[in-house]
Protein backbone atom coordinates (compact mmCIF):
# COMPACT_ATOMS: atom_id res chain seq x y z
CA UNK A 1 0.00 0.00 0.00
CA UNK A 2 2.80 2.35 0.98
CA UNK A 3 4.62 1.48 -2.22
CA UNK A 4 1.56 2.26 -4.32
CA UNK A 5 1.21 5.61 -2.61
CA UNK A 6 4.87 6.49 -3.18
CA UNK A 7 4.59 5.43 -6.79
CA UNK A 8 1.48 7.57 -7.15
CA UNK A 9 3.33 10.60 -5.82
CA UNK A 10 6.32 9.94 -8.04
CA UNK A 11 4.45 9.32 -11.27
CA UNK A 12 1.16 11.16 -10.75
CA UNK A 13 2.15 14.56 -12.05
CA UNK A 14 4.25 13.32 -15.01
CA UNK A 15 1.40 11.05 -16.13
CA UNK A 16 -1.09 13.90 -15.73
CA UNK A 17 1.12 16.20 -17.83
CA UNK A 18 1.45 13.59 -20.58
CA UNK A 19 -2.32 13.08 -20.58
CA UNK A 20 -2.81 16.84 -20.88
CA UNK A 21 -0.38 16.94 -23.79
CA UNK A 22 -2.18 14.05 -25.48
CA UNK A 23 -5.57 15.66 -24.88
CA UNK A 24 -4.31 18.92 -26.32
CA UNK A 25 -3.12 17.27 -29.54
CA UNK A 26 -6.53 15.54 -29.86
CA UNK A 27 -8.55 18.77 -29.82
CA UNK A 28 -6.18 21.05 -31.71
CA UNK A 29 -3.55 20.50 -34.35
CA UNK A 30 -0.78 22.92 -33.47
CA UNK A 31 2.07 22.59 -35.97
CA UNK A 32 4.64 23.02 -33.21
CA UNK A 33 3.21 20.34 -30.91
CA UNK A 34 3.56 16.75 -32.17
CA UNK A 35 1.33 13.96 -30.85
CA UNK A 36 2.86 11.86 -28.07
CA UNK A 37 2.74 8.68 -30.22
CA UNK A 38 4.38 10.42 -33.15
CA UNK A 39 6.98 11.86 -30.81
CA UNK A 40 7.92 8.45 -29.43
CA UNK A 41 8.28 6.78 -32.82
CA UNK A 42 10.27 9.75 -34.14
CA UNK A 43 12.51 9.60 -31.11
CA UNK A 44 13.23 5.92 -31.72
CA UNK A 45 13.72 6.40 -35.47
CA UNK A 46 16.01 9.38 -35.18
CA UNK A 47 18.25 8.45 -32.29
CA UNK A 48 18.45 4.63 -32.22
CA UNK A 49 20.59 4.16 -35.28
CA UNK A 50 23.84 5.35 -36.73
CA UNK A 51 23.11 8.85 -35.50
CA UNK A 52 23.69 7.55 -32.01
CA UNK A 53 27.26 6.68 -32.95
CA UNK A 54 27.87 9.59 -35.32
CA UNK A 55 26.46 12.46 -33.29
CA UNK A 56 25.50 11.50 -29.77
CA UNK A 57 28.53 9.51 -28.63
CA UNK A 58 31.17 11.97 -29.93
CA UNK A 59 29.31 14.82 -28.23
CA UNK A 60 29.18 12.97 -24.93
CA UNK A 61 32.84 12.00 -25.33
CA UNK A 62 33.87 15.63 -25.77
CA UNK A 63 31.71 16.63 -22.81
CA UNK A 64 33.27 14.01 -20.52
CA UNK A 65 36.80 14.81 -21.70
CA UNK A 66 36.23 18.49 -21.03
CA UNK A 67 34.68 17.87 -17.64
CA UNK A 68 37.41 15.50 -16.46
CA UNK A 69 40.10 17.94 -17.58
CA UNK A 70 38.46 20.91 -15.90
CA UNK A 71 37.89 19.03 -12.64
CA UNK A 72 41.52 17.86 -12.54
CA UNK A 73 42.83 21.29 -13.47
CA UNK A 74 40.50 23.13 -11.12
CA UNK A 75 41.16 20.91 -8.11
CA UNK A 76 44.95 20.80 -8.50
CA UNK A 77 45.33 24.51 -9.23
CA UNK A 78 42.79 25.32 -6.54
CA UNK A 79 44.69 23.34 -3.90
CA UNK A 80 47.93 25.09 -4.81
CA UNK A 81 46.48 28.61 -5.05
CA UNK A 82 44.34 28.12 -1.96
CA UNK A 83 47.32 27.04 0.18
CA UNK A 84 49.62 29.93 -0.73
CA UNK A 85 48.24 33.18 0.61
CA UNK A 86 50.12 35.67 -1.56
CA UNK A 87 49.37 33.65 -4.69
CA UNK A 88 45.69 33.69 -3.82
CA UNK A 89 45.63 37.46 -3.33
CA UNK A 90 47.58 37.92 -6.55
CA UNK A 91 45.31 35.80 -8.74
CA UNK A 92 41.86 36.13 -7.18
CA UNK A 93 40.68 39.30 -9.00
CA UNK A 94 41.82 37.98 -12.38
CA UNK A 95 40.14 34.62 -11.75
CA UNK A 96 36.92 36.30 -10.59
CA UNK A 97 36.91 38.28 -13.82
CA UNK A 98 37.37 35.14 -15.91
CA UNK A 99 34.54 33.47 -14.08
CA UNK A 100 32.30 36.47 -14.71
CA UNK A 101 32.74 36.23 -18.48
CA UNK A 102 29.75 34.28 -19.82
CA UNK A 103 31.59 31.19 -21.15
CA UNK A 104 29.73 30.90 -24.47
CA UNK A 105 31.41 34.10 -25.73
CA UNK A 106 34.63 32.08 -25.71
CA UNK A 107 33.34 30.04 -28.64
CA UNK A 108 33.96 32.73 -31.27
CA UNK A 109 37.28 33.64 -29.62
CA UNK A 110 38.54 30.06 -29.67
CA UNK A 111 37.28 29.57 -33.20
CA UNK A 112 39.82 32.22 -34.17
CA UNK A 113 42.64 30.98 -31.96
CA UNK A 114 42.32 27.22 -32.47
CA UNK A 115 40.04 26.79 -35.47
CA UNK A 116 36.96 24.62 -35.75
CA UNK A 117 37.79 21.12 -34.53
CA UNK A 118 37.37 18.72 -31.65
CA UNK A 119 40.14 20.29 -29.58
CA UNK A 120 38.40 23.64 -29.78
CA UNK A 121 35.17 22.18 -28.42
CA UNK A 122 36.93 20.46 -25.55
CA UNK A 123 38.90 23.62 -24.76
CA UNK A 124 35.65 25.62 -24.74
CA UNK A 125 34.18 23.21 -22.20
CA UNK A 126 37.31 23.30 -20.06
CA UNK A 127 37.60 27.10 -20.15
CA UNK A 128 33.97 27.44 -19.16
CA UNK A 129 33.63 24.86 -16.43
CA UNK A 130 37.05 25.11 -14.77
CA UNK A 131 36.20 28.36 -12.91
CA UNK A 132 33.52 27.14 -10.51
CA UNK A 133 35.70 24.14 -9.60
CA UNK A 134 38.82 26.26 -9.21
CA UNK A 135 37.27 29.11 -7.23
CA UNK A 136 35.24 26.81 -4.99
CA UNK A 137 38.33 24.71 -4.25
CA UNK A 138 40.28 27.87 -3.37
CA UNK A 139 37.46 28.99 -1.11
CA UNK A 140 37.23 25.54 0.46
CA UNK A 141 40.96 25.39 1.15
CA UNK A 142 40.89 28.93 2.55
CA UNK A 143 38.10 28.16 4.99
CA UNK A 144 39.59 25.01 6.52
CA UNK A 145 38.86 25.12 10.23
CA UNK A 146 41.87 26.86 11.87
CA UNK A 147 41.65 24.60 14.89
CA UNK A 148 42.13 21.59 12.63
CA UNK A 149 45.01 23.27 10.82
CA UNK A 150 46.74 24.02 14.12
CA UNK A 151 46.05 20.53 15.45
CA UNK A 152 47.48 18.96 12.31
CA UNK A 153 50.54 21.17 12.60
CA UNK A 154 51.19 20.32 16.23
CA UNK A 155 50.91 16.64 15.44
CA UNK A 156 53.52 17.16 12.78
CA UNK A 157 51.21 16.30 9.91
CA UNK A 158 52.49 18.17 6.89
CA UNK A 159 53.36 17.87 3.26
CA UNK A 160 51.50 15.25 1.30
CA UNK A 161 49.58 13.67 4.17
CA UNK A 162 48.34 17.10 5.25
CA UNK A 163 46.72 17.47 1.83
CA UNK A 164 45.25 13.98 1.81
CA UNK A 165 43.93 13.90 5.37
CA UNK A 166 43.11 17.52 6.13
CA UNK A 167 42.84 19.89 3.19
CA UNK A 168 41.08 17.74 0.60
CA UNK A 169 38.38 16.36 2.92
CA UNK A 170 37.79 19.80 4.47
CA UNK A 171 37.41 21.44 1.07
CA UNK A 172 35.37 18.50 -0.27
CA UNK A 173 31.85 19.90 0.14
CA UNK A 174 32.85 23.17 -1.56
CA UNK A 175 34.62 21.28 -4.35
CA UNK A 176 31.56 19.15 -5.01
CA UNK A 177 29.39 22.27 -5.13
CA UNK A 178 31.75 23.69 -7.74
CA UNK A 179 31.77 20.46 -9.73
CA UNK A 180 27.99 20.46 -9.82
CA UNK A 181 27.99 23.93 -11.37
CA UNK A 182 30.69 22.79 -13.78
CA UNK A 183 28.50 19.93 -15.02
CA UNK A 184 25.66 22.17 -16.12
CA UNK A 185 27.99 24.76 -17.68
CA UNK A 186 29.85 21.99 -19.51
CA UNK A 187 26.64 20.65 -20.98
CA UNK A 188 25.60 24.13 -22.14
CA UNK A 189 28.97 24.63 -23.78
CA UNK A 190 28.89 21.25 -25.49
CA UNK A 191 25.64 22.28 -27.18
CA UNK A 192 26.72 25.85 -27.97
CA UNK A 193 30.06 24.87 -29.46
CA UNK A 194 28.26 22.49 -31.81
CA UNK A 195 25.50 24.91 -32.72
CA UNK A 196 27.98 27.60 -33.58
CA UNK A 197 30.69 25.81 -35.45
CA UNK A 198 30.24 22.23 -36.42
CA UNK A 199 28.98 19.79 -38.97
CA UNK A 200 28.16 17.03 -36.52
CA UNK A 201 27.16 16.52 -32.94
CA UNK A 202 23.95 16.93 -31.01
CA UNK A 203 23.75 20.71 -31.06
CA UNK A 204 24.33 20.82 -34.80
CA UNK A 205 21.73 18.12 -35.49
CA UNK A 206 19.04 19.84 -33.45
CA UNK A 207 19.58 23.19 -35.15
CA UNK A 208 19.49 21.39 -38.49
CA UNK A 209 16.07 19.91 -37.61
CA UNK A 210 14.80 23.31 -36.54
CA UNK A 211 15.98 24.99 -39.75
CA UNK A 212 14.25 22.35 -41.86
CA UNK A 213 11.08 22.62 -39.73
CA UNK A 214 11.29 18.95 -38.75
CA UNK A 215 9.34 19.66 -35.58
CA UNK A 216 8.95 16.17 -34.01
CA UNK A 217 12.63 15.49 -34.74
CA UNK A 218 13.60 18.79 -33.10
CA UNK A 219 11.58 17.96 -29.99
CA UNK A 220 13.21 14.52 -29.84
CA UNK A 221 16.62 16.20 -29.92
CA UNK A 222 15.61 18.52 -27.08
CA UNK A 223 14.53 15.41 -25.18
CA UNK A 224 17.93 13.76 -25.77
CA UNK A 225 19.70 16.81 -24.33
CA UNK A 226 17.33 16.74 -21.40
CA UNK A 227 18.03 13.06 -20.80
CA UNK A 228 21.79 13.67 -20.84
CA UNK A 229 21.29 16.42 -18.27
CA UNK A 230 19.14 14.21 -16.08
CA UNK A 231 21.56 11.26 -16.25
CA UNK A 232 24.54 13.52 -15.49
CA UNK A 233 22.87 15.00 -12.45
CA UNK A 234 21.72 11.56 -11.26
CA UNK A 235 25.25 10.12 -11.52
CA UNK A 236 26.64 13.20 -9.80
CA UNK A 237 24.21 12.89 -6.90
CA UNK A 238 25.20 9.26 -6.44
CA UNK A 239 28.90 10.11 -6.43
CA UNK A 240 28.37 13.08 -4.12
CA UNK A 241 26.45 10.95 -1.64
CA UNK A 242 29.31 8.43 -1.59
CA UNK A 243 32.10 10.96 -1.36
CA UNK A 244 30.47 13.24 1.18
CA UNK A 245 28.78 10.57 3.30
CA UNK A 246 30.80 11.64 6.36
CA UNK A 247 29.76 15.26 5.80
CA UNK A 248 26.07 14.47 5.67
CA UNK A 249 26.36 12.44 8.84
CA UNK A 250 28.19 15.31 10.55
CA UNK A 251 25.55 17.83 9.47
CA UNK A 252 22.76 15.62 10.75
CA UNK A 253 24.43 15.32 14.14
CA UNK A 254 25.01 19.08 14.26
CA UNK A 255 21.44 19.89 13.26
CA UNK A 256 20.01 17.47 15.78
CA UNK A 257 22.14 18.90 18.57
Amino acid sequence: MRLVKNLGYALGLPVLLILLWWGYTLVSSNFYVPEPGEFVTTFADVWFGERFFDDVLPSIGRLLAGLVLSILLGVVAGLVIGSVRWLRSLLEPVLEFFRAIPPPVLVPVLMLLIGVNDQMKVVVIVLGSVWPVLLNTIEGVRSVDPVMTETARSYGIDGWSRFVHLVIPAAGPQMMAGIRQALSIGLILMVISEMFASSSGLGFTIVQFQRSFAIPEMWSGIAVLGLIGVVLSFVFQRVERKVLAWYRGLKEVENAG
Partner: protein
Amino acid sequence: MATTRAGRSWGPAALGALGILGFLATWEVLPLTGLVDPRYLPPASEVLAELGAQFLSAGFWLAVWQTVRAWFLGLLIAAVAAIVLGLVIGTSAVLRRATHTTIEFLRPIPSVALIPLAVLLFGVQLESTLLLVVYASFWQILIQVLYGVADVDTVAQNTARSFGLGRFARVRYVTWPTALPYVITGLRLGAAVALILAVTAQLVIGSPGLGREIALAQSGGAVSAMYAFVLTTGLLGVLINMAMRVLERRALAWHSSVRGEVAV
Protein backbone atom coordinates in the same frame (compact mmCIF):
# COMPACT_ATOMS: atom_id res chain seq x y z
CA MET B 1 33.89 37.31 5.17
CA ALA B 2 33.84 40.99 4.26
CA THR B 3 34.90 42.11 7.69
CA THR B 4 37.87 39.76 7.94
CA ARG B 5 39.05 40.85 4.54
CA ALA B 6 38.74 44.55 5.32
CA GLY B 7 40.45 43.84 8.62
CA ARG B 8 43.63 42.78 6.88
CA SER B 9 45.78 45.59 5.59
CA TRP B 10 45.89 46.83 2.02
CA GLY B 11 48.24 43.97 1.14
CA PRO B 12 45.77 41.67 -0.65
CA ALA B 13 44.27 44.56 -2.61
CA ALA B 14 47.68 45.67 -3.84
CA LEU B 15 48.60 42.10 -4.77
CA GLY B 16 45.29 41.77 -6.62
CA ALA B 17 45.99 44.93 -8.59
CA LEU B 18 49.45 43.57 -9.33
CA GLY B 19 47.83 40.35 -10.58
CA ILE B 20 45.60 42.27 -12.98
CA LEU B 21 48.58 44.30 -14.23
CA GLY B 22 50.56 41.09 -14.68
CA PHE B 23 47.74 39.55 -16.66
CA LEU B 24 47.49 42.60 -18.92
CA ALA B 25 51.27 42.65 -19.40
CA THR B 26 51.29 38.96 -20.39
CA TRP B 27 48.47 39.60 -22.81
CA GLU B 28 50.39 42.58 -24.25
CA VAL B 29 53.61 40.64 -24.75
CA LEU B 30 52.19 37.31 -25.95
CA PRO B 31 51.16 38.47 -29.46
CA LEU B 32 54.39 40.47 -29.85
CA THR B 33 56.55 37.39 -29.28
CA GLY B 34 54.71 35.59 -32.03
CA LEU B 35 53.63 32.70 -29.78
CA VAL B 36 50.07 33.63 -30.70
CA ASP B 37 49.13 35.10 -34.04
CA PRO B 38 48.51 38.85 -33.40
CA ARG B 39 45.81 38.77 -36.07
CA TYR B 40 43.80 36.49 -33.79
CA LEU B 41 44.87 37.89 -30.41
CA PRO B 42 45.68 41.59 -30.64
CA PRO B 43 47.78 43.00 -27.75
CA ALA B 44 45.94 44.24 -24.68
CA SER B 45 46.63 47.91 -25.43
CA GLU B 46 44.92 47.62 -28.82
CA VAL B 47 41.84 45.95 -27.34
CA LEU B 48 41.62 48.43 -24.46
CA ALA B 49 41.91 51.34 -26.92
CA GLU B 50 39.11 49.77 -28.95
CA LEU B 51 37.05 49.42 -25.76
CA GLY B 52 37.66 53.10 -25.02
CA ALA B 53 36.48 54.01 -28.50
CA GLN B 54 33.41 51.84 -28.04
CA PHE B 55 32.56 53.70 -24.83
CA LEU B 56 31.95 56.78 -27.00
CA SER B 57 29.61 55.05 -29.45
CA ALA B 58 25.86 55.00 -28.99
CA GLY B 59 25.55 51.54 -30.57
CA PHE B 60 27.75 50.08 -27.86
CA TRP B 61 25.58 51.43 -25.05
CA LEU B 62 22.45 50.30 -26.87
CA ALA B 63 23.83 46.74 -26.96
CA VAL B 64 24.74 46.95 -23.27
CA TRP B 65 21.27 48.23 -22.46
CA GLN B 66 19.62 45.45 -24.48
CA THR B 67 21.65 42.82 -22.67
CA VAL B 68 20.97 44.30 -19.24
CA ARG B 69 17.27 44.65 -20.04
CA ALA B 70 16.97 40.99 -21.12
CA TRP B 71 18.92 39.94 -18.02
CA PHE B 72 16.78 42.01 -15.66
CA LEU B 73 13.38 41.16 -17.15
CA GLY B 74 14.23 37.47 -17.34
CA LEU B 75 15.50 37.35 -13.77
CA LEU B 76 12.46 39.30 -12.55
CA ILE B 77 9.95 36.97 -14.21
CA ALA B 78 11.84 33.89 -13.04
CA ALA B 79 12.16 35.22 -9.48
CA VAL B 80 8.49 36.12 -9.09
CA ALA B 81 7.32 32.81 -10.57
CA ALA B 82 9.82 30.75 -8.58
CA ILE B 83 9.14 32.48 -5.26
CA VAL B 84 5.35 32.23 -5.57
CA LEU B 85 5.43 28.62 -6.77
CA GLY B 86 8.11 27.70 -4.24
CA LEU B 87 6.08 29.06 -1.33
CA VAL B 88 2.92 27.32 -2.54
CA ILE B 89 4.61 23.97 -3.19
CA GLY B 90 6.94 24.14 -0.21
CA THR B 91 4.25 24.81 2.39
CA SER B 92 2.18 21.80 1.36
CA ALA B 93 3.56 18.33 2.00
CA VAL B 94 1.31 16.76 -0.63
CA LEU B 95 2.37 19.17 -3.36
CA ARG B 96 6.01 18.82 -2.41
CA ARG B 97 5.92 15.05 -2.81
CA ALA B 98 3.79 15.16 -5.94
CA THR B 99 6.06 17.62 -7.77
CA HIS B 100 9.40 16.16 -6.67
CA THR B 101 10.05 13.86 -9.63
CA THR B 102 8.83 16.40 -12.18
CA ILE B 103 11.09 19.12 -10.79
CA GLU B 104 14.08 16.81 -10.57
CA PHE B 105 13.52 15.82 -14.17
CA LEU B 106 12.94 19.29 -15.64
CA ARG B 107 15.68 21.05 -13.68
CA PRO B 108 18.80 19.51 -15.26
CA ILE B 109 17.54 20.01 -18.82
CA PRO B 110 20.02 22.50 -20.25
CA SER B 111 18.17 25.64 -21.23
CA VAL B 112 20.19 25.92 -24.45
CA ALA B 113 18.24 22.86 -25.60
CA LEU B 114 15.33 25.30 -25.95
CA ILE B 115 17.18 27.48 -28.46
CA PRO B 116 15.53 25.88 -31.54
CA LEU B 117 12.13 26.25 -29.90
CA ALA B 118 12.80 29.90 -29.07
CA VAL B 119 13.81 30.59 -32.66
CA LEU B 120 10.66 28.96 -34.02
CA LEU B 121 8.33 30.71 -31.59
CA PHE B 122 9.81 34.19 -31.37
CA GLY B 123 12.51 34.60 -34.03
CA VAL B 124 15.31 37.05 -33.30
CA GLN B 125 13.39 39.04 -30.71
CA LEU B 126 13.82 39.89 -27.06
CA GLU B 127 11.25 37.18 -26.25
CA SER B 128 13.49 34.34 -27.39
CA THR B 129 16.26 35.60 -25.11
CA LEU B 130 13.74 35.86 -22.28
CA LEU B 131 12.54 32.29 -22.76
CA LEU B 132 16.06 30.95 -22.20
CA VAL B 133 16.90 33.33 -19.36
CA VAL B 134 13.67 32.61 -17.49
CA TYR B 135 13.96 28.84 -17.90
CA ALA B 136 17.57 28.76 -16.71
CA SER B 137 17.22 31.00 -13.66
CA PHE B 138 13.75 29.79 -12.63
CA TRP B 139 15.03 26.38 -11.45
CA GLN B 140 17.99 27.84 -9.57
CA ILE B 141 15.66 30.07 -7.55
CA LEU B 142 12.85 27.53 -7.14
CA ILE B 143 15.17 24.91 -5.66
CA GLN B 144 16.58 27.38 -3.15
CA VAL B 145 13.08 28.55 -2.16
CA LEU B 146 12.05 24.93 -1.61
CA TYR B 147 15.15 24.29 0.54
CA GLY B 148 14.40 27.45 2.48
CA VAL B 149 10.77 26.57 3.14
CA ALA B 150 11.80 23.07 4.22
CA ASP B 151 14.20 24.66 6.72
CA VAL B 152 11.40 26.29 8.75
CA ASP B 153 11.62 25.48 12.44
CA THR B 154 8.70 23.25 13.48
CA VAL B 155 8.52 24.84 16.91
CA ALA B 156 8.19 28.31 15.41
CA GLN B 157 5.59 27.02 12.97
CA ASN B 158 3.53 25.38 15.75
CA THR B 159 3.88 28.41 18.01
CA ALA B 160 2.53 30.64 15.24
CA ARG B 161 -0.32 28.21 14.70
CA SER B 162 -1.29 28.09 18.37
CA PHE B 163 -1.23 31.90 18.48
CA GLY B 164 -3.92 31.71 15.82
CA LEU B 165 -1.96 33.00 12.84
CA GLY B 166 -3.69 32.09 9.57
CA ARG B 167 -1.98 30.37 6.66
CA PHE B 168 -1.07 33.64 4.97
CA ALA B 169 0.23 35.26 8.15
CA ARG B 170 2.36 32.17 8.89
CA VAL B 171 3.90 32.37 5.43
CA ARG B 172 4.53 36.09 5.92
CA TYR B 173 5.99 36.00 9.44
CA VAL B 174 7.49 32.53 9.83
CA THR B 175 8.20 30.92 6.47
CA TRP B 176 9.36 33.98 4.54
CA PRO B 177 12.03 35.19 7.00
CA THR B 178 13.40 31.64 7.25
CA ALA B 179 13.45 31.21 3.50
CA LEU B 180 14.85 34.67 2.70
CA PRO B 181 18.56 33.76 2.92
CA TYR B 182 17.93 30.86 0.56
CA VAL B 183 15.91 33.08 -1.77
CA ILE B 184 18.82 35.54 -1.90
CA THR B 185 21.27 32.71 -2.63
CA GLY B 186 18.95 31.56 -5.39
CA LEU B 187 18.79 35.08 -6.79
CA ARG B 188 22.57 35.36 -6.76
CA LEU B 189 23.01 32.06 -8.61
CA GLY B 190 20.11 32.89 -10.91
CA ALA B 191 21.57 36.30 -11.73
CA ALA B 192 24.85 34.77 -12.91
CA VAL B 193 23.09 32.11 -14.98
CA ALA B 194 20.69 34.70 -16.41
CA LEU B 195 23.58 36.76 -17.77
CA ILE B 196 25.18 33.68 -19.33
CA LEU B 197 21.94 32.75 -21.05
CA ALA B 198 21.14 36.32 -22.11
CA VAL B 199 24.48 36.63 -23.89
CA THR B 200 24.28 33.08 -25.24
CA ALA B 201 20.88 33.66 -26.78
CA GLN B 202 22.12 36.82 -28.45
CA LEU B 203 25.23 35.04 -29.65
CA VAL B 204 23.55 31.98 -31.11
CA ILE B 205 20.08 33.21 -32.08
CA GLY B 206 21.08 36.75 -33.00
CA SER B 207 18.61 38.62 -30.84
CA PRO B 208 19.87 42.17 -30.19
CA GLY B 209 22.55 42.74 -27.53
CA LEU B 210 26.23 42.22 -26.70
CA GLY B 211 26.19 38.57 -27.76
CA ARG B 212 25.10 39.48 -31.27
CA GLU B 213 27.77 42.19 -31.45
CA ILE B 214 30.40 39.55 -30.61
CA ALA B 215 29.15 37.22 -33.32
CA LEU B 216 28.98 40.09 -35.86
CA ALA B 217 32.47 41.34 -34.96
CA GLN B 218 33.88 37.84 -35.27
CA SER B 219 32.34 37.09 -38.66
CA GLY B 220 33.26 40.59 -39.87
CA GLY B 221 36.90 40.13 -38.88
CA ALA B 222 36.83 43.03 -36.38
CA VAL B 223 39.00 41.06 -33.96
CA SER B 224 39.86 43.75 -31.43
CA ALA B 225 36.20 44.87 -31.32
CA MET B 226 35.26 41.25 -30.60
CA TYR B 227 37.69 41.13 -27.66
CA ALA B 228 36.41 44.51 -26.46
CA PHE B 229 32.85 43.13 -26.38
CA VAL B 230 34.02 39.96 -24.61
CA LEU B 231 35.72 42.14 -21.98
CA THR B 232 32.49 44.11 -21.65
CA THR B 233 30.47 40.98 -20.90
CA GLY B 234 33.05 40.06 -18.26
CA LEU B 235 32.85 43.52 -16.69
CA LEU B 236 29.07 43.27 -16.72
CA GLY B 237 29.33 39.89 -14.98
CA VAL B 238 31.63 41.33 -12.29
CA LEU B 239 29.23 44.27 -11.77
CA ILE B 240 26.26 41.93 -11.45
CA ASN B 241 28.10 39.70 -8.97
CA MET B 242 29.02 42.76 -6.91
CA ALA B 243 25.48 44.13 -7.02
CA MET B 244 24.10 40.78 -5.86
CA ARG B 245 26.57 40.69 -2.96
CA VAL B 246 25.45 44.19 -1.90
CA LEU B 247 21.82 43.13 -2.14
CA GLU B 248 22.60 40.07 -0.06
CA ARG B 249 24.27 42.12 2.64
CA ARG B 250 21.41 44.65 2.68
CA ALA B 251 18.58 42.11 2.76
CA LEU B 252 20.22 39.91 5.37
CA ALA B 253 21.76 42.58 7.56
CA TRP B 254 19.63 41.27 10.42
CA HIS B 255 20.67 37.73 9.81
CA SER B 256 24.07 37.37 8.19
CA SER B 257 25.78 36.61 11.49
CA VAL B 258 23.75 33.42 11.78
CA ARG B 259 24.19 32.29 8.27
CA GLY B 260 27.14 30.42 6.79
CA GLU B 261 27.54 30.23 3.05
CA VAL B 262 24.88 27.87 1.67
CA ALA B 263 26.49 25.08 -0.32
CA VAL B 264 24.79 24.63 -3.65
